[in-house]
Amino acid sequence: MIPARTRRMAPTLGLLLAAWGASALVQMSVDREMARYRESPEILWISSGKVLRTLSLGHQSLLADVYWTRTVQYYGSRLRDHKTDFSLLGPLLDITVTLDPQLTVAYYFGSIFLSEKPPRGAGDPKHAIALLQHGIVANPDEWRLWHHLGFLYYWELRDYVRAAAAYQAGAKNPKARDWMKVMAAAITEKGGNLQTSLFLWSRIYDSSEDPTIRKNAAGHIDGIKAQIDMEAIEKRAQQFQVENGRWPASIAEMVSHGLLPGVPVDAAGFPYRLKPDGTAALHPASTVTLDYDHSPAPPRAPAP
């Protein structure tokens, strides 16, 4: 038995629900219609950090946090949408560090993703270097900024003289790790090589708590390790060629001749492949990428 009061209210409730349902349906149509209007180009209305600092009325550090969050969201959304234009990344980072020069995470993030080539970053290592130099002046105790600066010179610009100088300068900081000196010496002596690159990317991976930076570093580490593996496979293939007068047909054949303990796999778990000319390659389905070939490959004996 439904109470009389509830019965009286039922039509009103029904009308309310119907109106709400209708408004939701209309809103969906409006959203579809508005979609093309909302796709406006991303713009920085105020591009000067100094002006924003003045407008913040003393709350510049809070505004820096807002801009930092916007930077992270901007980078993440561009990456998600597979867009290769990161033109706002530099200005957003500049504003962030002008508002809060002590926000070191912005320098680390910026140095990596401003310099990385598209589609991973803006491909602007010079801007990244300027950002780091600004960070070093504002945070003289942060020896890791020197590490990132040296790394940029080493990895992106292949300027080994400046890279070694940056590691040398950073090593003078009392808080700096001992390997900073070792790096300065290693780069001076050898320039770029895979082992040095692997070591430096590993330090970036270990020293960062930022998941985006770590994921990016892990990708580079996997790529360099694969390159080291492939060089080792090619050396064994060369040995096989010297001993047998022909290139091995496959890696399995090298294993059967005792030149390798087993079929090696890359970081993604896929076995390497051997080409007819004795060069190693990644499995076509492998997710490891090899776009980091900065070290000269060892000289290879001509095929017979």
Binding site: L62, A64, D65, W68
Partner: protein, 260 residues
């Protein structure tokens, strides 16, 4: 005797302010905003604690400013409006005691409110980190600087409320706060023009305006960095000197005012 009377006025000002419901709403809103900082940190990278401290300190500062202005503008006007001032001044109390008592009472209110909002910040910080770090103690320096800033705002508000209506006092105080927050930019502007006359004028304005940007150290303490004791002393001295100047001016204006 004189000190006891002045303190009694301060106590009454505090009691009256505490009865105001707007005050509770503002404090509650500030605490909610501080707690919501925990969510803001989630959408950024590596700076959850920094964001929490910055939002917390900015909330304390902004809501403290609102409380100072809302309560400050009515300090004198409300007493005249309710005619309670006449019965008060008919007693052996000097006008300056009334002004100073009101000023101290409002500052006491702000101190208590700031402590409540600070508890909200510390609670949220503990919720986020589950432990306090030694460098967290520097947050107190920033809170102390916010109190000094509010001390100055109260003095500005009191000064205007001695000769103006509550709405105009609120507008004047807010404008002084805005210009005072950008005081160094005003001086820099004069320097950039390389015009000696304009340079002197902007420098004079710079020293005439209360420099609120001096009290902004949230960016330093949110990164766990200390604020030098010398700056703490200097900022304290500046706030005391400048507020004294305004309170003296307010007393002078109020003494000359015809209350009939």
């Amino acid at each position: 005797m004189i000190a006891a009377q002045t303190l009694a006025i301060a106590r009454n000002t505090f009691r009256e302010a505490v009865r105001d419901r707007v005050l509770y709403n503002l404090v509650a809103f500030a605490v909610i905003l501080i707690a919501s900082a925990l969510l803001f940190g989630e959408i950024s990278i590596g700076v959850e604690k920094t964001i929490l401290i910055n939002i917390g300190l900015s909330s304390i500062s902004v809501f403290g400013l609102l409380i100072a202005i809302f309560l400050g503008i009515g300090l004198v006007h409300k007493e005249i409006d309710k005619r309670s001032l006449y019965s008060l001044l008919s007693k052996p109390i000097h006008r300056w005691q009334f002004v100073v008592g009101k000023f101290l009472g409002l500052n006491l209110t702000l101190l208590v409110n700031t402590l409540f909002m600070s508890m909200g910040l510390w609670g949220a910080l503990y919720y986020l980190t589950r432990s306090f770090q030694p460098e967290d103690v520097y947050i107190w320096t920033a809170i102390y600087f916010i109190l000094l800033e509010l001390f100055l705002v109260t003095a500005v508000c009191l000064f205007f409320s001695c000769f103006s209506t509550p709405i105009l006092s609120a507008i004047f105080t807010f404008l002084i706060y805005v210009v005072g927050s950008a005081a160094s930019d005003v001086r820099d502007f004069g320097t950039l023009t390389k015009n000696p006359l304009l340079e002197s004028l902007t420098t004079a304005i710079y020293y005439l305006l209360p420099n609120f940007s001096d009290f902004s150290v949230a960016g330093v303490v949110s990164h766990g960095l200390p604020v030098g004791s010398h700056l703490i002393l200097l900022n304290t001295a500046y706030a005391v000197c400048y507020a004294s100047m305004l309170v003296i001016a307010a007393v002078w204006i109020f003494s000359k005012r015809d209350l009939k």
